[in-house]
């Protein structure tokens, strides 16, 4: 993989931050966009212009072709069986909320349980906590590393559990959940399996048929695509029978004053109102871009960057890393000064002055601090456009992190 060549695809890498060359290590939050995605978005506004599925003129036909073309790209990207199984959403959060609302109102009963785990992102947990029925949330215990093990999933399953909702990759520690094996366990018990793919789709090849998941969501912006768009995948047998959460134009075929509503078939019945067309097209372009580079190479390179970083800091005893053994590009850590932990936000602000973007806090996984026994962490997340030279600069900056230097940035 020619990283320097790849970096030319990302115009934003030419900018500076705090008068230093930008080193962007916040890729788990969102990723930078290649020129081809930006051009696709611009082309919609400068050339295509029309709405989708509505017009009888050439422009609108061109939009339809590209819009439904993007659906087929997405279908192929996660290897769904039918394009009808791909519903456009505003991203993983909306997908998880829609699935929760649909299942709660149309399938689950008061007292049914949803099984999830403590390292989950807020969007896998909060919709169930706030659901319209009394859904009991149960948590798979994590092992001492913060990992979900198959053994613990087996132990946690019981007759009350009707839905299991898990991320394929944790956004804090980066561990991969054994989804395929969990799916077998779930289906043997007639349990619906929902998988949050926000942190997996950017890094590993997804095959929803092989994983045999019932629902799967992802966000385009985590994999070089636009913000505000993603997909909800559902097995056809579910999407065919589920009533949508939203109603409006484009999702119905006809309705009358007596309240008879004839909805369109999936996926259009789930796509009321004008979709973010430019973002859907941009997502399709991003998927093609990622596939061209290849998820296997992307993942291998991220792991290589992480190993390189870990090797460089192995003698720096003031850096505490919480996820050394997870095979990903995420490093979650804290910095100590004379045996006392420097608050994560102070470290992140110091790194900012060196042009380095990292995330500090709890990373939307608010139950995880109980497992890690720290109230916040710093997260550096690498992607395929990052370089070893950037990591060298990062390590040099980390050598300078002391409480005093973290306060010095204010003077």
């Amino acid at each position: 993989m020619d990283v320097n060549k790849i970096r030319e695809d990302f115009p934003i890498l030419n900018r500076t931050m705090c008068q230093k060359p930008l080193i962007y290590f916040d890729n788990s939050a969102t990723t930078l966009k290649p020129d081809c995605v930006i051009q696709t978005i611009t082309n919609y506004y400068t050339y295509l212009g029309a709405n989708a599925h509505r017009g009888d003129y050439e422009m609108s036909g061109q939009v339809d072709a590209q819009f439904e073309g993007a659906r087929k790209i997405a279908q192929k990207f996660i290897n769904a069986r039918y394009p009808e199984e791909i519903v456009f959403t505003s991203g993983s959060t909306m997908g998880l909320n829609e699935i929760c609302i649909m299942l709660t109102s149309q399938y689950l009963k008061d007292g049914d349980a949803v099984l999830t785990c403590q390292s989950e992102h807020a969007s896998s947990i909060l919709p169930w906590m706030k659901a319209s029925k009394k859904i009991e949330l149960q948590y798979i215990p994590l092992d001492s590393h913060g990992k979900i093990t198959l053994e613990n999933v087996k132990k946690a399953l019981n007759d009350k559990v009707k839905v299991v909702c898990l991320a394929q990759v944790s956004n804090v520690l980066g561990y991969q959940t054994p989804i395929k094996e969990i799916s077998e366990l779930c289906h043997a018990r007639n349990i619906i399996l929902i998988v949050d793919g926000a942190q997996s789709t950017p890094h590993i090849k997804i095959d929803v048929q092989d994983l045999d998941v019932d629902f799967f969501v992802m966000s385009a912006h985590k994999m070089c695509g636009p913000t505000g768009v993603g997909i909800l995948y559902g097995k056809k047998k579910y999407l065919d029978v589920l009533e949508p959460v939203f109603y409006g134009g484009e999702s119905n075929a006809r309705f009358d004053q007596c309240g008879h509503v004839l909805l369109k078939e999936s996926p259009l019945k789930f796509e009321s109102g004008t979709q973010p067309i430019e973002a859907v097209l941009g997502m399709g372009q991003a998927m093609k871009y990622i596939e061209e580079i290849g998820q296997d190479r992307i993942h291998a390179y991220e792991v290589e960057l992480k190993r390189y970083f870990l090797d460089k800091i192995k003698d720096m005893n003031h850096i505490v890393v919480y996820n050394k053994d997870s095979e990903c590009g995420i490093v979650t850590f804290n910095v100590m000064d004379h045996g006392k932990m420097i608050f994560a936000q102070d470290v992140a602000s110091f790194l900012n002055t060196k042009g380095i973007a990292v995330r500090s806090g709890q990373h939307c996984a608010k139950l995880l601090p109980e497992v890690l026994n720290v109230n916040s962490t710093v997260r550096a997340s690498f992607y395929f456009y990052n370089t070893k030279e950037e990591i060298d600069t990062f390590v040099e900056a980390l050598k300078e992190v002391t409480l005093e230097n973290c306060v010095n940035i204010f003077f």
């Binding site: 608050f343 602000s349 939307c364 109230n375 409480l403 204010f410």
Partner: protein, 149 residues
């Protein structure tokens, strides 16, 4: 770094490592504000006892960064024994300083250590979290007084 800057840094470090009034009380007569919803990282509670128009005591506790902890610690010392009018004057001067507007340095004492916090725009919240809690409690104490009239 100038001598001034290094002095100011020492003030922040000192209040972070040895925060003053950092423990909450169960005693009666204290108002309390939990500041946790604005950011997902700083989580502090500030308490104050305001009697007869005088701030008798200010306490705080919680988990927060250097700037949030030290600025709240300094605020808690500055407020002790001040009348509500004096406290309001100090607070408005502090917010002016943070916003890079004109302010009276003498009123702020050690709090001038945060004069450059705006250089890191995302940290302005940290430097004001405890002060906003105090401001809120003062307003609420005045509201109660108005209602009792």
């Amino acid at each position: 770094m100038s001598i001034d800057a290094s002095l100011l840094r020492e003030i922040i470090m000192d209040h972070y490592e040895y925060p003053r009034n950092k423990s909450l009380t169960d005693q009666s007569g204290y108002a309390s504000v939990h500041m946790a919803s604005d950011s997902c990282i700083d989580d502090i509670t500030v308490q104050s006892k305001i009697e007869n128009g005088i701030i008798q005591d200010v306490r705080f506790d919680g988990v927060a960064c250097t700037i949030a902890t030290s600025s709240t610690s300094i605020m808690s010392e500055l407020m002790q024994g001040k009348s509500i009018e004096e406290a309001k004057e100090i607070i408005s001067n502090y917010f002016n300083m943070i916003d890079q507007k004109k302010y009276d340095e003498d009123l702020l004492e050690e709090a001038i250590a945060f004069q450059n916090v705006g250089k890191q725009a995302n940290r302005i919240h940290c430097a004001t979290i405890g002060w906003k809690a105090m401001d809120q409690m003062i307003r609420e104490s005045e509201g109660e007084k108005d209602e009792s009239r």
